[in-house]
């Protein structure tokens, strides 16, 4: 299966968007080679603004530019969602300015740079902001769709992307705020987002071998969240597991919990980063260390069925 990092797709999507929409400008903070905005920089040098290593200023500059009718895409590492938080909150979300955030290198699969750089809290930070749309694309094709959708949304949008090259699935129909049923099932439901989709599918395969028919539902939009689909699969499967490369606090797991609480759920378990920081290592080793590989997910689900 073809593999491509979601961040690479982000960069490609920006180039395409730049061609279609002259209002799109891209801001980066000296990371164009990592966030993959360098493609846009090359294609449209006059619409690319490097803000230097000053992420907070980048966000407020984008806020100001948006008031002139432009659609700024701010790009940096997801870990700086925390560094920029006051600017994202007060500079952009409070006045509901039309600024997009394409933050990359999220989660532990960032790898070797270590825990200081591995954002495990950004989804929580972004979900809690009024008016913010939160996208966590699961693969390159979904990332193209998220970027395209972001430009059409009037208001702030956060797009979380990963560094690691991950499988590219066939394009699926995309609607903002709607989850995607990857595989139907009735014994339990696995809800996932982002690049953990690959591991959720593997877990479902393992479960199938053991006679457990697991549904897999992927949520590219964590806000607004598709509560209807979450409820539908909760009613059908009653046992619900969430899988994410993010803290179990404030991410997909909590979005699901809020949606399904009190609606006949028999078993609910959040699988993610258990309130600890990451560390240096190869992405595959880190996924194993934090028990997020397909076999480990399957084992946890079996134990809790």
């Amino acid at each position: 299966m073809e593999k491509k990092a979601v961040r690479v797709a982000y960069g490609e999507a920006l180039v395409k968007l730049g061609e279609e929409n002259e209002k799109v400008v891209v801001l980066d903070a000296d990371l164009a080679g990592a966030t993959m905005t360098n493609g846009f920089k090359k294609a449209y040098p006059n619409r690319f603004y490097d803000c230097g290593i000053a992420e907070a200023n980048m966000v407020d500059v984008a806020a100001g530019m948006s008031t002139m009718g432009l659609i700024p895409f701010c790009s940096t590492f997801a870990v700086f969602a925390g560094r920029n938080y006051d600017q994202i909150r007060n500079g952009v979300c409070y006045p509901k300015f039309n600024v997009k955030f394409g933050f990359s290198h999220a989660g532990i699969t960032l790898g070797e740079d270590g825990g200081s750089h591995q954002a495990i809290e950004d989804i929580a930070l972004m979900r809690v902001l009024p008016g913010m749309t939160v996208f966590v694309p699961s693969d390159a094709n979904e990332c193209y769709q998220c970027v395209e959708a972001a430009a059409k949304i009037e208001g702030p949008v956060y797009i979380r992307t990963a560094r690691l090259a991950t499988p590219v699935y066939d394009p699926r129909p995309f609607t903002v705020g709607k989850g995607v049923v990857i595989r139907d099932g009735s014994d339990c439901a696995i809800f996932t987002c982002g690049i953990m989709l690959e591991h959720a599918i593997e877990a479902a395969d393992i479960l199938a071998e053991k006679g457990v028919n697991a549904a897999v539902v992927s949520f590219h939009t964590l806000k607004p969240f598709d509560e209807e689909l979450a409820l539908q699969y909760t009613a059908k499967c009653r046992k619900v597991f969430t899988v994410e490369e993010h803290s179990v606090i404030g991410g997909l797991g909590d979005a699901v919990a809020s949606a399904i609480i009190g609606n006949g759920v028999e078993k609910f378990l959040k699988i993610g980063i258990n309130d600890v920081f990451g560390q240096s290592g190869k992405p595959a080793d880190l996924l194993r260390e934090y028990e997020l590989t397909g076999p480990q997910i399957a084992e946890k689900i079996l134990k809790n069925l």
């Binding site: 400008v25 619409r47 603004y49 803000c51 230097g52 000053a54 907070a56 200023n57 407020d60 500059v61 984008a62 806020a63 100001g64 530019m65 948006s66 008031t67 002139m68 009718g69 432009l70 006051d86 600017q87 007060n90 500079g91 409070y94 006045p95 509901k96």
Partner: protein, 270 residues
């Protein structure tokens, strides 16, 4: 507009500040009174704005980076005709358009929501950059505080303003020397602020008395220096115009009571 008329407006805005903060029992009179001349000069003499067309894309922009001086901005916007005086009663009250800090979604004439110090100048830099990008000939003005200048973001924004040669940007420093916990020098010295501004690439003008309308107007009308953002240091007096507030740290964020308000209004007659 002649200086005398501008001074008259400034007196009226000072009265508005007292009326608003006294009615709300809260607010920031000290820094509002020190920056009154600057705001009156901008809205009545310098900026191209029209209260009847407050979303005109070609209007000049103003960002009150020191957002707590909102009473001065509200007084100025009201006198300029952006909204009626009845709004003063709802300053800092539920469902009012005059929030504790300026809110662009609620208040006509407010171009950015501010209050989190350091952000306004950065947003103003973005506006000026966006104006250049889109070929909009508007000019962007922002007033920052001296205490606010302790925020690192002010200097990130300044670096970007010089880097992008934003000669359509004017940063105005309301240098009253006082902040919540004491003088700038007691809390965190600004050092040679003029030298710092020059070093950051601004074209700097220092105004000896930032509460002297003529001096303020002259500085704001000084021709732009091509390729450089402008930085105007206004040496001001915190609490200016109200004898018992002048130069007093304690009036940063405290409202006058009824008796004090009456005395202040008496001093501001004429």
């Amino acid at each position: 507009m002649d200086i005398q008329t501008l001074e008259k407006y400034a007196r009226q805005v000072r009265r508005d500040i007292i009326i608003m903060t006294a009615a709300a029992g809260a607010g920031h009179p000290g820094g509002s009174l020190s920056s009154t001349e600057a705001m009156v000069a901008l809205y009545f003499d310098v900026m191209n704005v029209d209260p009847k067309d407050d979303k005109n894309p070609n209007r000049d922009r103003f960002v009150l980076s020191k957002g707590h001086s909102a009473p001065a901005l509200y007084g100025t916007l009201c006198e300029r005709g952006f909204f009626g005086r009845e709004e003063f009663d709802k300053f800092r009250q539920l469902h009012g358009i005059l929030q504790g800090h300026p809110d662009t979604k609620k208040c006509p004439g407010v171009d950015a929501s501010t209050g989190s110090l350091g952000q306004g100048i950065s947003i103003a830099v973005g506006m000026a950059l966006g104006a250049k990008h889109t070929g909009n000939k508007c000019h962007v003005y922002t007033i920052i505080g001296d205490g606010e200048s302790q925020e690192g973001l002010v200097w990130e924004a300044s670096m970007a303003a010089a880097h992008y040669k934003l000669d359509n940007l004017t940063v105005i420093l309301d240098h009253n020397g006082l902040q919540i916990d004491g003088t700038n020098d007691e809390v965190m010295s600004l050092g040679d602020i003029k030298a710092k501004a020059v070093a950051f690439g601004y074209d700097v003008i220092e105004v000896a008395d930032g509460n002297d309308m003529k001096q303020v107007v002259d500085a704001l009308h000084a021709p732009a220096c091509p390729g450089k953002p402008r930085y105007i240091i206004l040496n001001t007096l915190k609490g200016k115009g109200v004898s018992f507030m002048e130069g007093q740290v304690g009036w940063h964020g405290k409202a006058p009571n009824a008796e004090q308000a009456a005395q202040a209004l008496k001093e501001l007659e004429g």
